[in-house]
Structure formats: structure tokens, C-alpha cells
Point group: C2
Chain length 202, copies 2
């Protein structure tokens, strides 16, 4: 019986896993989902197939880590950038900017995740509920409305709109080298700022 | 040799095609992409498989018409609603409202199209350029900026944001019977209106 390496990661093991994820990203971008086999990833990493399957039992496990690592890295970068601002509009601006800065810095990883998402769907179709990323933004906007910092718009609709705009900009940046996700962020910040500032003077 | 029925549609042929599309929508919603065979659609329509393949050569042709007919019907409903307003903000509002009213009135058709879209992808991945639906909105906003009716925001980013928000609301409404696309439209109109009204007084 072999133990699950994920439960006791050594520094060397972590470096190897990161290397295999990077090779899987390259394979996804250059060969697509169908062309990203365990053998192809092993070839790119210069190791045997057994080394890949020691760290990731199946192709699906490896591609799952491609997706998970992107959200983990992006979440970490966004968390490091935000949280310092007392202002809700400031925090929203930092969220939008750091999210799209991550996209700008990791276009291949974003594109690889989209390649996976287009080919692996969750069972039972699209989830109907509010997604967690929009819920986070909604709570932030509601917090600003409770203190009176920002005006009354529907926080759920604005949160969904911000999230959808970021995702659309990420999708374009992943495929179009001339796209400018940081520029999108600045213009989106302005749109959100205007939406949250009451035009009526008291 | 048989002629192509699509090139010479009779009223009876059009009614039959519409019936087959409606049966395909039901099959997609209830059985998913894999369960929507020509045989299943024929069974639901109470006709032989030959009748289906007379009007649609393959399953792909039939599902293509499921997608095309949704965009044709939605486009017609939106075109009938818009075009009367001299005001850009008014026209944007009508566009958003009529688009999401169509979604509210046709949740099964929207869901069926999403089922098709999730399973059939265009060759060569996601297109990189601006999509035509966003381009239409961008030109509308730019027209209002040229006349000075609306303020200077980035028309491309705002158009992409409006389009992404509508699509996200449509995706939720297709799967969540408690969703309120018309309510989303009203709140989105308010957000867009605020974004396009200059807060500075001259």
C-alpha cells in the first residue's frame, strides 16, 4: 500500500508537484485538453509516467490541481492586497485591480483553467445559487451601505455584475495578447465608484 | 435526390420544424445533451426518426437550430422594443429590460441552449475579439458620448460589463426558478444610468 503523498508534502515533493502543474499548463495551452495526457506531461517534465501518477493518481487529479492552484494563488494575491482599507469603495477597487493584475500576470494559467473548465463539467449542470465570489462582494457592498458610506443600489446585482465583468475580461485576456486587463480594471473601478456614489446631495 | 427543405420552407414544414425544436428543448432540459438523440426527439414529437432527419440532417443540425432560433427570437423581441428612443440611456434601458424579459419568458429554451453550448465548442477555442453583442452596446454608448448626452466612461468596458451581467443573470435564471431576471434588469439599468451620468456639475 502506498501512502497519499498529498497528506505529507515534503518541500521536494511540493516543488515536483509545482513543476508538474506548470508542465500541465503548458500542455493545455499548446495541445488542448485532449492532448494533455499523463504521458505528455511526463515528457515535458523529463520524468517517467510513474513519477506523475505518484503525485497525481489520474489526469483528472492533475488537472484539478491546475484549477485549484490558480484559485489558491489568485486568492492569496487578492487577500494580500485587500483588507487594509477602511473604505468599501477602496476595498472594491483593490479587489478588482488585484484580480485583473493576477490575470494579466498569469495569462497561460488562466487559459489552461478555461481549457479544463470547458471540458470537465460538474455533475448535475450549472449550480443555481449565488456563487461564493459574488457573495463576498455583496457582503462588502452591504457593509458600506450599513455605514452609509455608499448609496443604495442592489448589492447582489452589482456584485454579480462586477464578478461577471472580471470573468469576461479574464476570458478575453487569456486568448487575446493585445487585451489589457489592468486597463479594464481601472475603467471598471470608475463605473463601480459612480454606481455607488449618490448623485443627489442631501 | 432530395431537395433541401430549408431552402423552400412551406408553412407546414415550418410548423413541423418549430415542433421538433420545442421537443429538442424539452429533451435537453429533461435528459441533457447525451440523452437528446434524434430517436428521443422523434418519440416526443410522435413521428418517425425519418421525419426528424428529413428536416434536420443530423442531431447537430437540430441542436444548431435550437441555438439559432433562440437568438433569432430574442433579437426580434429586442429589436421590436428598441429603436424608438432618442435617448441613449433610454435605449440601453430598453435593451437590458427586453433582453432579460425574454430570458424570464423562455427559461427552458435558455437552459437548453446552455446545455448545447456546454457540450459543443467552436473549433480553435474561445474567440479573442470583441463579441458582436458587446460591440452593438459600445457603439450605442459612443453615440451618446459624441452628442454629450452621457459622460465619458470607457464605452468598451461598460458594454462588456453590461453584456456579462445580462449573461450571468440569464445563466442563473435558466437553472434557478426563484431567480428574478426582470428585477436584475431594473437594478442593472440603475447602475448603468449612474455610471453614465456625470456627477460633476459644469
Amino acid at each position: 500500500m502506498r501512502t497519499n503523498p498529498a497528506s505529507t508534502p515534503s518541500p521536494g515533493g511540493q516543488a515536483r508537484k509545482a513543476q508538474l502543474v506548470a508542465c500541465a499548463v503548458d500542455a493545455l495551452v499548446e495541445r488542448g485538453f485532449a492532448g494533455t495526457s499523463v504521458a505528455e506531461v511526463a515528457r515535458r517534465a523529463g520524468v517517467s509516467k510513474g513519477v506523475v501518477t505518484y503525485h497525481f493518481r489520474t489526469k483528472e487529479d492533475l488537472l484539478g490541481e491546475v484549477v485549484t492552484s490558480l484559485y489558491r494563488d489568485a486568492g492569496q494575491q487578492i487577500a494580500e492586497a485587500t483588507g487594509d482599507s477602511d473604505s468599501v469603495i477602496g476595498e472594491l477597487a483593490t479587489y478588482i485591480r488585484s484580480n485583473l493584475a493576477f490575470v494579466a500576470d498569469h495569462p497561460r494559467h488562466v487559459r489552461a483553467v478555461m481549457e479544463v473548465a470547458a471540458n470537465i463539467r460538474p455533475h448535475g449542470g450549472v449550480p443555481a445559487e449565488e456563487d461564493p465570489l459574488s457573495a463576498h462582494l455583496r457582503k462588502l457592498i452591504e457593509r458600506g451601505q450599513a455605514t452609509g458610506e455608499v448609496t443604495e443600489v442592489d448589492a447582489g446585482v452589482l456584485a454579480m455584475t462586477i464578478r461577471a465583468s472580471i470573468d469576461a475580461a479574464a476570458a478575453r485576456a487569456a486568448w487575446d495578447p493585445t487585451a489589457d486587463p489592468r486597463g479594464h480594471a481601472e475603467h471598471l473601478v470608475l463605473i463601480v465608484r459612480r454606481a455607488l456614489q449618490a448623485t443627489e446631495t442631501p
